[in-house]
Amino acid sequence: MSGTNILELVTVFVLAVFVGFEVISKVPSILHTPLMSGTNAIHGVILVGAMTILGTAHGTTQIVLGFLAVVLATLNVVGGFVVTDRMLEMFKGRQGPPSDKGPKDDTRVGEP
């Protein structure tokens, strides 16, 4: 845990904020739920951190906590991506070219 590159990390952080705002503002509201579960899956990357702390743990407490962190983070990753994929699979456009509905019937009235 050396603090040599704190400024680099802050730089990355600030840039990521801008990239995040930029990318997310283009997401249409129709996809807001997949967006939430998709970003949810992405923060599952904490699994990398969880593996790191478990892999370098000393003593029972750290091992138990590290193990728990890996379980929780794996849940996050797997659940997040699977659920997002299931949802996005359902979003389909019209099948084939739009069907020809023919001329509108003149007997149709607005207020029958």
Binding site: K26, T33, S37, T39, T52, G55, F67, V83, K104, E111
Partner: protein
């Protein structure tokens, strides 16, 4: 290229994959591919972690991952689309918990005296935000899953009590910066868990979409903080992307509700009104109830019908019948589409997912701004199980709790048809003037039964 450089390159690739995954969501066509790209990025990042120098206990790691997969995969596969908000809350909560644990354990590894102050701050941020997100998500899950009441939980002195816990956390954080001690960090963690609980308790079910979005951004920030603690660029990038996304979405949601974020979080919305107005009285005014046959004729001989689905439709599992009715009408030459309010459902964009599940093409799902231009030329607005999102009180009753909320302007349509279970007000507990409008016809009953009847009547025409 050394191994460490290689890992950094792979991390960069993964970070780009995550950004591409989010960029893919700008269009339903590219969204699924984007998600797969994100998942690949994750796999690559996890794979290279096994090669990190100095790591051991791979057996234990794989065992823990197996447990996570064994629980997570079936849960994610089997969850119903209506239960998606609580699932997202649950996965969000475990992520927050993991982030808090990562920061905490990393702190335990080194003697506290060797930390610089900013490193202590990083640890405390990771632990605090992660714990708040974990506990808050757990309570949101319980509310959405109806393990506890979805109504706001309030008690005298609540704000003061919550403020006290918040101030306690801030005080301890400052103390821990001066004299870093493990016990202080553990107390902060416990207080943060408590704060997550008391923070979510007064937030009512109708405001949960905003809340989940906010908690999502909290977990993102907790992950970013862990990234600072571990000096991991990948964690900082991914966590920050999520934090930014959640913040933006939270802002959009509170705008869609016409209320400020503090108002949503602290006003225990719905608690007071429910007490005074949840009776089924119509205040002596009369409403016009129609038969399924009349309404079927009205729909079938219209030029343009706009269907407004609300959460009642989802609860009744009526998406598929709604789609069937839309198809029948389209086959008769009626122009049909669905108008979706941004906060319809229990999380941002939820109703779109439910309609997509019923195979409604996304071209027929119109956002509020687009749909509102269409009501004036629509012959019928068919409101199925929605209430607050079409309530004109939001426009013209300054004393109404939902005043200022952008709504779907169904009152501009020539005819309005409500499919409602009863005269009971919606989730926010507010009466809807539109029900008494002379243009309005009501069909009482379960949304699915009513739609099924309409389908049968339209077929019989």
């Amino acid at each position: 290229m050394s191994l460490v450089t290689g890992i950094k390159v792979v991390d960069l690739v993964a970070a780009v994959c995550f950004i591409l995954a989010l960029a893919g969501l700008s269009n339903p066509k590219s969204a699924r591919m984007g998600n797969l790209v994100g998942a690949s990025g994750m796999l690559v990042a996890l794979g290279i972690t096994f090669a990190t120098p100095g790591l051991s206990r791979f057996g234990l790691m794989i065992g823990a991952m197996a447990i996570g997969v064994a629980i997570g995969a079936p849960a994610a596969r089997l969850v119903k689309m209506t239960a998606m908000p609580q699932m997202v809350a649950a996965f969000n909560g475990v992520g927050g918990g993991a982030a808090a644990l990562v920061s905490l354990v990393e702190f335990l590894k080194v003697p506290p005296s060797t930390f610089a102050t900013y490193q202590i701050v990083e640890v405390l941020l990771g632990v605090t935000i992660g714990c708040v997100s974990f506990a808050g998500s757990a309570i949101s899950f319980a509310k959405l899953q109806e393990l506890m009441s979805g109504r706001p939980v309030t008690y005298p002195g609540q704000q003061f009590f919550n403020g006290l816990i918040g101030a306690g956390i801030v005080g301890l954080v400052i103390a821990a910066c001066v004299t870093p001690h493990t016990s202080l960090i553990v107390i902060v963690a416990i207080l943060a868990l408590a704060f997550g609980v008391v923070f979510v308790l007064p937030i009512g079910g109708a405001d949960v979409p905003v809340l989940i979005s906010l908690l999502n951004s909290f977990t993102g920030l907790a992950v970013a903080a862990s990234g600072f603690v571990l000096n991991s660029v990948l964690l900082v990038v991914a966590g920050t992307l999520v934090g930014a996304s959640g913040t933006l979405l939270t802002r959009m949601m509170s705008k869609a509700m016409g209320r400020s974020l503090p108002n949503i979080l602290f006003s225990a919305f719905g608690a007071v009104i429910t007490a005074s107005q949840s009776t089924e009285s119509t205040g002596g005014r009369s409403v016009r109830a129609g038969s399924a046959e009349d309404i079927a004729i009205l729909l079938a001989y219209s030029r343009k019908v706009i269907i407004v689905p609300g959460y009642g439709l989802a609860v009744a599992q009526a998406q598929h019948v709604a789609k069937e009715l839309a198809d029948l009408l389209e086959a008769r030459g009626v122009e049909v589409f669905f108008a979706i309010h941004p906060v319809a459902g229990r999380m941002p964009g939820h109703m779109n997912v439910l309609m997509a599940e019923a195979n409604v093409p996304y071209e027929e799902l119109k956002e509020m701004d687009l749909a509102n231009g269409e009501f004036a030329t629509a012959d019928v607005a068919l409101v199925v199980g929605a209430n607050d999102v079409v309530n004109p009180a939001a426009r013209n009753a300054p004393d109404s709790p939902i005043y200022g909320m952008p709504i779907l302007n169904v009152d501009e349509a020539k005819n309005i048809v409500f499919l409602k279970r009863s005269m009971r007000p919606g989730f926010a507990g507010i009466d809807n003037e539109l029900l008494f409008n002379p243009k309005t016809t009501l069909l009482f009953g379960d949304a699915k039964d009513s739609l099924t009847k309409l389908v049968a009547e339209v077929k019989a025409l």
